[in-house]
Symmetry: C2
Subunit: 336 residues, 2 copies
Amino acid sequence: MRIVITGGAGFLGSHLCDALVQAGHSVICMDNLLTGRMENISHLLGHEEFIFLRYNVCDYLHVDGPLDAIMHFASPASPQDYLEFPIATLKVGALGTHKVLGLARAKGARFLLASTSEVYGDPLVNPQPEAYWGNVNPISPRGVYDEAKRFAEAMTMAYHRYHGLDTRIVRIFNTFGPRMRAKDGRVVSNFIVQALQGKPLSVFGEGQQTRSFCYVDDLVRGIVGLLMVDSDKTIEERTDKKFLYTRANDQIVASVHDPVNIGNPRELTVIEIAKLIVKLTGSSSDISYHPLPTDDPKVRRPDISRAHALLKWEPQVPLEDALSRTIAYFRKTLSQ
Amino acid sequence: MRIVITGGAGFLGSHLCDALVQAGHSVICMDNLLTGRMENISHLLGHEEFIFLRYNVCDYLHVDGPLDAIMHFASPASPQDYLEFPIATLKVGALGTHKVLGLARAKGARFLLASTSEVYGDPLVNPQPEAYWGNVNPISPRGVYDEAKRFAEAMTMAYHRYHGLDTRIVRIFNTFGPRMRAKDGRVVSNFIVQALQGKPLSVFGEGQQTRSFCYVDDLVRGIVGLLMVDSDKTIEERTDKKFLYTRANDQIVASVHDPVNIGNPRELTVIEIAKLIVKLTGSSSDISYHPLPTDDPKVRRPDISRAHALLKWEPQVPLEDALSRTIAYFRKTLSQ
């Protein structure tokens, strides 16, 4: 298959490039390098089935030749990044998604949207099934990312329903692994870097908020599975043609065109993660406590029964192994 | 003042054009006439302080000369319209809002966004204060409007915070009055037209869902009040500069830059409205029952304490008077 990956030089995007090139596909990686980095894909440059294009997908977007699939991963994705680039985050979620959907439609390509557990906001149910509507503050600083992704989902579904585009939506929960940036403000990378440098681990609030961390290899396997699985009944076929008059309580069986959570349901408190990382790094770091950010979610854990039903997917890499591999990456990076 | 109104040929936009021209302002009305109608503004054509430009604000947007304010009212706004034009609805909320914010920034103009009670979705609290985050299904057919407006709010706030733009956001609750279209599918216009034609009034579900209906003159007075009120402390001045570390439970005093509900808090069930309209029209129509649309909100009622505190606004026109004026309009329209 010939596949475009926007945001292909980012943390997740670059692992997808690797996985798809290794599986024998031809990959066109697009990135404007706002938060992506060439070093994530430098080992792929020169591979005959890999092309890098430096594009801002909010602007002009053109690809020569046929395309089988487009995976839209371009977006600032750490809170630190999207608070620094709020308007770029909103633009890539809306204008960018619109442009990329247009390209998919023009090429007759399958479209996969990288959505996020942030669409659930500060969830009032735990774990979160895909049918949960979320609890998001639209006007909070943090809302730029959440609303951009909710909008991107709405537009993706509109293209699916209105134009019949073959679309997929993955809701990605917290993920970690090699190629996270040392300073992007995410919990696992922050903790590992602090532990390796012998600095106190920064915990926000009392650290009792929970997160579910998925190793990047598991995540990539789930996403590729969702991209590759055959189409089934569209939403159109499952509901009344007019959409307007679908009863809310009708039993609706999930389709591959519905959003699918991919993440690890093993839930830990932030304090537990901190202590595990201190142990695995052999560090003597303490923990330091800081005020909780605005609208920081208190719990976050995927219900992955849909991914299991549709894709037979579940995470496989044990947390301790995954953390050890990530620690090894940062140990090497920090020493350079 | 020199004021642009996008969607100025629509139901609300055209009443705003009237009010502002009458108050001595110079009005530039933009509309692509997707759901707006020339007959709503034909009486203003030729007025020396009124200009009509047929523009799709998602595309190129240019205005000669200085501007004091821009009011962004362009959007399909009835469920029937945004289900027919889902992608246009998403585009005008995101790409259109982005373009119009850019124009406001370039001109140093104040920006007012027409948002909606739909940002509250199917609310779990009643009445809805502005601090309520809402309960919206991002991927439902109806979600296109809700998410477009939530996105537009997020982007408006980002321009306020990041570029210091003087912005206002009005969340408009159900409104009725002359210039509603006979066939746009909204409750009051549907019921009046059916009653005047002696047809059964179409009630969805059991009609026990509530709505709060504001007369357009009251609404326009509230919106113009919000546009004209002086700036006060920005959100930046009320919170930590970094935004990230504002405590969720800090007392935050509302500013004119925060969203403001404008609507009538008098809540009636759909059945009550139906019966009142049958009475006021002197019709002999029955009521017919139909299946409830997907995700139709069960309650919807504004908490207007913020509008009262900031603008001293509250509705004044009694419901029966307002309905009678609207019935007179439809009686005339239908006879033509």
